[in-house]
Amino acid sequence: MLQSLLSGDMPRSRILAVILVAILVCLALAPFLFPGVRTVDTAARICVFILLVASYDLLLGYGGIVSFAHTMFFGIGAYGVALALTHMGRGFGPIFVGAGAGAVMAAALALLIGLFSLRVRAIFFAMITLAVASAVAVLVSQMSGLTGGEDGLTFKLPRALGPAFKFGKEALGGELFGVTLNGKLLAYYFVFAGALVLFLMLLRVVNSPFGRVLLAIRENDFRAEAIGYRVVYYRVAATCLSAAVAALAGSLYAVWLRYVGPETTLSMELMIDILLMVVIGGMGTMYGAVIGATLFVLAQNYLQTLMGAASGLVEGVPVLPQLLSADRWLLWLGVLFILSVYFFPTGVVGRLRGGK
Amino acid sequence: MSDPILRLEGVCTNIAQYHILQGVELEVPRGQVTMLLGRNGVGKTTTLRTVIGHWRAHKGRVMFDGEDITAKPTPAIARSGVGFVPEDMGIFSDLTVEENMVLAAASGPIDSARLDWVFSAFPPLKTFWSSEAGNLSGGQKQMLSIARAMIEERKLYLIDEPTKGLAPAIVSTMARALKELKAQGASILLVEQNFAVARALGDTANVMDDGRVIWSGAMAKLAGDAELQERLMGLSLEAH
């Protein structure tokens, strides 16, 4: 049962298994274990980012392709849901239409970019995605009539996912373990379930023959081509799949936030965050995405506070307070990132599995 | 007998996970043409590339002119007096013939007497002196590749299949040039599949199989013994 659910890809490390189970339990029961607006929000973001990072890992870790357009695909999914809900009215129909359209469009765009660049050299892909993603980000903020520009779009979810919707009044008195049963709770489980199902699907993909061919290509594309695999075909397919899942992650994010904007879905900073999560968690292992995203989102929320405190401690010393200021946490992440690529290329998961 | 200019002692070279050379023992005496023979894929090219340092021996020693060059970087090996003509010729095709030759004369301006000698051996190079090397024909490219090695006096020339895929007329031009180089007293390690050329030029012969030198001796002895050829290389070269 578990074997087939995980597609035979077991954690292969006791500590890793314990951590993964702990994360799963915490996320599954987050609204009950940590009731509080901020903590539940953190949990939902972790869910979304696990999926987003896992879809990126399909490309980077399994395909050996660096893309800078992943936030673009993420944004397409988010804007898809936002636009559908804005123009088609609130309801579950528009959510699925928007998410579906976003995923299809992301895959189509990925197909185009992939056919153009992967045909020639894999590094073209990194450069072209960077250029295209920046152009799209600028375009989105320019087309304010459609996208709301820099301000983004705020929209209404179906009533069932809003905080005003209460249920279970008769059976449970409207509460379970002291937590109010409302639409916000349902929205969380909508995000959680969506992320979990899609994650398990990705796990299945990477453990399928398709995933193994991708790994073979990453190890030695010449040999894979010589054996008879159409390298371009596999790489483009991975790109499209990864883009579609990223778009779906974006849709989930939009549902959770009830808002989309360029800063939250399209920015370069977000792209760098994704890179950091993949590398720190461990490239080429779907579980790395779980660890990386969880660590990162927690750090983002709580490390900045810590750095602010540290900065206050060294007040008076030249430069040091600026270096430790909470706004400079990206500096330290950058350093951490370089060090992990050098010394820790298999990430946390690789280490736990006894590091190759 | 003086010590050899080049000596390989138990050289093993791996490329990725493949063990290409498995203990090569080889000597190149001074002032002689030493042939390296054998079927395709037995490690002849890898042997030359290991000497020049493109690939590293992970076991054994490469001694050049009394010095251990096993771990020396390629440029240092080249500067200590090794001229290299790779199998793919290594022509800089966007550069002119002249620029190719100027680069090859690494220690300074081209010596004009030596250039005249190179021109006399390979007249087309003079004709196309200012043309892009990429526009030369295959034979002319091979001439340029050897000319680059010849333009300065080297202690040792490593030449990998100089007649591969060339028309008979150009093969004889090539053979004549190598003979002239030999007449100057140069030491040459030559990989050659064309047995007529090998017999005409070679003083000693080394036959490789499966990453090892399995036979060494006088070229004349190998050339005169069809049965030996059959046994060493799996085919009688006399038939060619």
Binding site: G64, V132, A135, D327 | H54, S93, L103
Partner: protein, 343 residues
Amino acid sequence: MTAAPKHAPKMAELSLAQRLGPWMPVLLVPALVVLGALAIPETSSWLTLTVSGLAMGMMIFIMASGLTLVFGLMDVINFGHGAFVSVGAFVGVTVLLMLGQMTGAPSLGLNLVALMLAVLGAMAATGAMGWAFEKVIVMPVYGHHLKQILVTMGGLIVVEQLIIVLWGPEEIYIARPESLKGAITFAGAALEKYRLVAVVVGLVVFAAMRFVLRRTRIGLIVRAGVQNGEMVQALGYRLRRVFVGVFIAGSALAGLGGVMWGLYQEVITAHMGNQAMILIFIVVIIGGLGSVEGCFIGALLVGLLQNYVAFLEPKAALISNIALMVAILMWRPMGMIPVVKAK
């Protein structure tokens, strides 16, 4: 052996198309200028736009040239190249601000001296930074593209953040030196002085690069190394040293480009290098990775097109560059002047 026919040396025959092929990209620039003249009715606006397009192109070329050579020579792709642009701009602008009296004086001589000092300061700083960057960031990941992209991107983040630590998070506004302000009128068109200067500087840099690459031994080594680095080493040249030299020179040029770009926009931010990278990548890709000439032509095309389109349909400006890239890659998948690798 039978008597062989006498060998008569002959160049391989080239068809007209093959002979014209290499020149096609060069012809694209005048073609685009003519196209611009057809699309823009007023000659004066067309002239103004052409000059600013050329100026922009020259600056992009200066920033991008180092990147393309570094790739050609060692197959190293440096996503952190934009960091040198930013650092160059900040160092240069800091020098200019310190020399406020010289830049504010209405004397061309004093202004130029101040500008020279700023440029020298910027190039020295970015050159030194390039040396360190190569040693610390790039060298450990030779031959590994994936890690190169990740690590150099990490380097870019760190440098950007350090700029903020040293200079603060605010953007810095900078006025051009007094005598480079304003415009001259030519044939009814207003031509900004600074853009004319940028065009001249770009031409000088391009000419100097071509001279070094064509006429000096070090240039020969670089050109040969781009095609077949292994053979260059087998001829006795220490390619590694040449590469470090090229990396430093390319970084210094990016610094120069950064100062010029900063003065062009009259405002600098820590992220400006990262933003410039978008155009730089487009230029390097359409030019053909490793080709300086291709980079030059590509930069001019991007500069001109962006200016023409911005005038005709402002919102399409950035998309126009992507469209240009797509069009050129459809025509030549390896870029306009593909570099032939021996391997």
